[in-house]
Amino acid sequence: MRKWGMVIDLDRCAGCQACVVACKAENNVVHSDPVQEETFRAISWMSVLTVMEGEYPDVKERYFPRPCMHCENPPCVKVCPVGATYKNPEGIVAQVYTRCIGCRYCTNNCPYTLKYFNYFRPRWTREMKNLLNPDVPKRQVGVVEKCTFCHHRLQKAKEDARFEKRELREKDYVPACVQTCPTGALIFGDLENPKSEVFRLSKISRAFRLLEELGTEPQVFYLTEGEWHG
């Protein structure tokens, strides 16, 4: 069985935001507006956080692309009363919108604050409804959503493989953010496959995970040089 995971090389990321927008375009996440900004209710499955240190003129800044960690041991899944969020056998923490009752337990229990509640009905203009991706359901007000590692792409890739009567290859499946990242900072693949790039990178000395001490075992690894660990 595969275990899909991501490696994010902070030394490469240029903070360009291509991953953020690619995710929204792929997954029908509506853009925000000033009201959502004021109330901190904007949705972005992938965001680039920034960490700034130092005093003028000796400042340093680090860009932190942050999707769902797809925890091996996900706190969000444990608290869902209806099984709307679950860990699938290939390592992806998924969300079923039609099951979600909007209790927001998971939102509160995710230590990385990576679950988003739809406080508003997604407001697409009439014209913009044209660009919606038919592979991904639109959400209703009152459900929780999150990064799925573009799970629908995996489904599609599997069907293509089946049609061609071959095994699924690792490179057949890549989330939208990874596909577009211009610097190659995002790397995706099978963490169980010793030949894969992510397997190798997740084990090098530059690798670390966010809030490792919580025991959530994120399947997203970060790489960086020097003192930025942890």
Binding site: C16, S32, P34, M52, T125, M128, L131, P134
Partner: protein, 762 residues
């Protein structure tokens, strides 16, 4: 209609057909097929070219039935190799923007108002063509002007041709990179910009250059940056008043007083010259006036003075010079944002002189000059007597951007009577901001081709709405900032929406309605025919190839650099079919030592400029004014300056403030000490006021900006729907005074002074 489809899709049923799909994921599976049986609708991928900035990245647009639903990069396009930037990713929001103009409009009521009436294409074209013919018949053809952006495509040729046949010398092309071109013209005699071979340089000494965020070839630069950061050998020093994205990625950020970049470059040059750390052989063979330059520097530049004016410590200046010398090949890079200071040419020339000292011109890891792609030229124009007469008379011809602007806003006997406008871009917008009334007063008839309601279209008497680039044929030539000539073929991804029409078709229709001479000069039935005519030149040229895998590309480069070349297509038809499928053509080889191509001045050398010939540096600044204690520093956000369309891309706009935790607000960056002095706290809502006006912004206390500077971004939208913006009243450009760069005519962005105070309430 496609929208309805969604409801059907939700149910999850649907058909699936096998159609070619470029999966874009690995280069091997470039040509594969999708067979999902749960996907509703017919899926197709169409190769095209993103033109949301001048970059021209290769894209693959995913269509489901007739809706465009996602953009990915074309994996074999040599510029972006399968990647797309956030603006490109937001592109479909531009296409499906609710701000699109649906069909031709005529202004009703006063010209200052924006009240419109829908009219038919026939009526609109008739009005414009009648007007043009009247002016021409009365010997006034030279009073017609076309204002647009400097574009890298055949539309430019078409417009020039139209004006030439008509008899007008006035094609005003606003160019973001005008200042840089001027500098290369002065130093090397070329009216072009040079590429930087980042791939092979070991040090980037950047004087505020936004090479990772705002250059047209940003995708190439980001790729190189990523590769080199993962184990390569590349050092970056960013010299800039503000801790920009580039500064944050650099090994070292050197803050500098705004407008003194050129002087610092001369300071660095003086260290190199004094210690003889320059490339003697290059200087002897390829440069002239080095002795004057050396003497000038030795006599006039003292490091203490440089340090005082620039604010850069003496030790840093010496250290930078040493590093520049030891990390060869190194490039000293400037970009046109230095020209927003009133004195840009001086600064850029001073920076470029470092490259000459190091001998890094036309050499690996240095500055290269891109060749033109061998497209077929259009046949020569045949002028009729009216046009000949127009050109024979001493009609004033706009030479510099400055002249163009004067021409537009100052009424004179030579004044423009009819102005045709096609998205001239941000430079022009910033002029309109200040001079709208003058333009309207002086120019009695204005036509806009803008696809959106925006600053430019608000001027118009008639709007003939263009489509976006997703709905038309186009060729796109790569920016000269990258040394590889690339021609990307952009094709309509969907049919023109609403009643919009490609500008090119509109021009051809107009031409055909204007008499025998026009018909003779425009024999083509549509724009696509013109493009194909030109593209066939690529087949006939004995070089380059249609986009191919990286491996094949490397092979070709090796062969071509040894002047070998093999034909890959037997016939023109086969070539055309292939180029449309792959998305374009490139020539990866670079030929060094073609001296007359790199130096086109008389001496065929790099000419050093001693700075006194330009202007005395550092003298102008600091008008002491206690009322306005802070210096305003306006900067560009990534890719907002290159196209006014960015305000119609909410996905893109909402992320521009990510470093400041802001989505739909303009912010002002203030140094922590300064904030303390003026009593402003982080996240206060403040007024920023200059003698010219005031705007509202969120104060962000930011250690990445020098004391007493107020940094404000330009072109930040405050609402996802452009029409809901109160932009006109809250645009930072309103703060600027009436000083302009001498040569480019662009408003000076760094010498205005402001004060900041808390706004009441929220």
């Amino acid at each position: 209609m496609a929208i309805k489809r969604r409801d059907f899709l939700k149910i999850g049923g649907g058909i699936s057909l096998s159609l070619p799909l470029y999966t874009c994921i690995s280069d091997k599976s470039y040509n594969s097929t999708s067979r999902s049986n749960w996907l509703a609708g017919v899926e197709r991928w169409v190769p095209s070219v993103c033109q949301a900035c001048p970059g021209g990245c290769g894209i693959m647009v995913r269509l489901v039935d007739d809706r465009a639903v996602k953009i990915e990069g074309n994996p074999i396009h040599p510029l972006n190799k399968g990647k797309v930037c956030p603006k490109g990713q937001s592109g479909l929001q531009l296409l499906y923007s609710s701000e699109r103009i649906r069909g031709p409009l005529k202004k009703v009521g006063s010209r200052n108002e924006e009240r419109w009436e829908e009219i038919s294409w026939d009526e609109a074209l008739d009005t414009v063509s009648t007007k043009l013919q009247q002016l021409r018949e009365s010997g006034q053809s030279h009073t017609v002007a076309f204002a647009g952006k400097n574009q890298q495509n055949t539309t430019d040729e078409l417009i020039s041709r139209f004006l030439e046949v008509y008899g007008s010398p006035h094609f005003f092309k606003f160019d973001e990179w005008a200042a840089l071109k001027n500098a290369y013209f002065v130093s090397q005699g070329i009216n072009d910009i040079m590429a930087v071979d980042f791939n092979n340089s070991r040090l980037i000494l950047s004087f505020g250059a936004s090479f990772l965020s705002n250059w047209p070839n940003v995708m190439e630069n980001q790729r190189i940056y990523g590769e080199k950061r993962a184990g390569g050998d590349l050092k970056i020093i960013q010299i800039e008043p503000r801790f920009s994205i580039e500064a944050s990625r650099a090994d070292k950020w050197i803050p500098i007083n705004p407008g003194s970049e050129g002087l610092l470059a001369l300071g660095i040059a003086s260290v190199l010259v004094k210690e003889r750390l320059y490339n003697q052989a290059f200087i002897e063979r390829f440069t002239s006036r080095f002795n004057e330059f050396r003497d000038y520097i030795l006599q006039n530049i003292t490091l203490d003075q440089v340090s005082e004016i620039t604010g850069v410590p003496l030790s840093s200046i010496i250290e930078i010079a040493k590093e520049f010398n030891t990390h060869q090949p190194a490039v000293a890079v400037a970009d046109s944002n230095l020209s927003y200071s009133g004195n840009g040419l001086f600064d850029i020339l001073a920076v470029h002189s470092l490259n000459a000292l190091a001998g890094n011109i036309d050499s690996p890891g240095g500055f290269l000059r891109r060749r033109q792609a061998p497209l077929t030229d259009l046949p020569p124009v045949i002028l009729d007597s009216a046009a000949k007469k127009a050109f024979s008379e001493e009609k004033q011809k706009a030479v510099s951007q400055r002249d163009m602007i004067d021409n537009l806003i100052n009424n004179s006997s030579q004044g423009i009577r009819c102005l045709l406008l096609s998205s001239p871009g941000h430079h022009f917008d910033s002029i309109i901001q200040k001079k709208k009334t003058d333009i309207l007063e002086n120019i009695p008839f204005i036509v806009s081709f803008s696809p959106f309601m925006d600053e430019t279209s608000s001027l118009a008497d008639i709007i003939l709405p263009d489509t976006t680039f997703y709905e038309k044929w186009q060729d796109h030539h790569s920016s000269p900032l990258s040394e590889i000539p690339i021609v990307g073929i952009s094709r309509p991804v969907i049919k023109p929406l609403y009643q919009s029409r490609p500008l090119e078709s509109t021009l051809l229709t107009l031409a055909k309605s204007m008499g025998e001479n026009f018909v003779q000069n425009f024999p083509w039935s549509d724009y696509k025919e013109i493009l194909f005519y030109r593209i066939k030149g690529l087949f006939r040229a004995k070089k380059g190839s249609i986009f191919s895998s990286s491996y094949e590309e490397a092979q070709l480069r090796i062969l071509e650099e040894r002047r070998w070349w093999t034909r890959q297509h037997d016939s023109e038809d086969a070539f055309m079919k292939d180029i449309l499928e792959k998305g374009g053509w490139q020539d990866p080889s670079y030929h060094f030592n073609e001296r007359s191509f790199v130096y086109q001045n008389k001496s065929r050398r790099f000419v050093f400029t001693s700075s006194h010939e330009i202007k005395d540096q550092g003298a102008a600044e600091n008008p002491e004014n206690g009322d306005y204690p802070l210096r305003l520093f306006l900067f560009d956000l990534p890719f907002t300056s290159t196209d006014s369309g960015s305000k119609n891309m909410p996905w893109y706009q909402e992320n521009l403030g990510f470093r400041f935790g802001l989505m739909w607000k303009i912010w002002v960056e203030v140094n922590p000490d300064t904030a303390g002095d003026i009593g402003i706290r982080d996240k206060d809502i403040v007024w920023v006021e200059s003698p010219q006006g005031r705007i509202k912004a969120v104060a962000r206390v930011f250690p990445g900006i020098g004391p007493d500077i107020a940094g404000i971004p330009l072109n930040k939208a405050e609402h996802p729907l452009a029409s809901k913006e109160e932009a006109a009243s809250n645009d930072p450009l309103h703060l600027l005074g009436e000083t302009y760069d001498e040569r480019t005519g662009v408003p000076d962005r760094i010498s205005t002074h402001v004060k900041i105070y808390k706004a009441r309430g929220r």
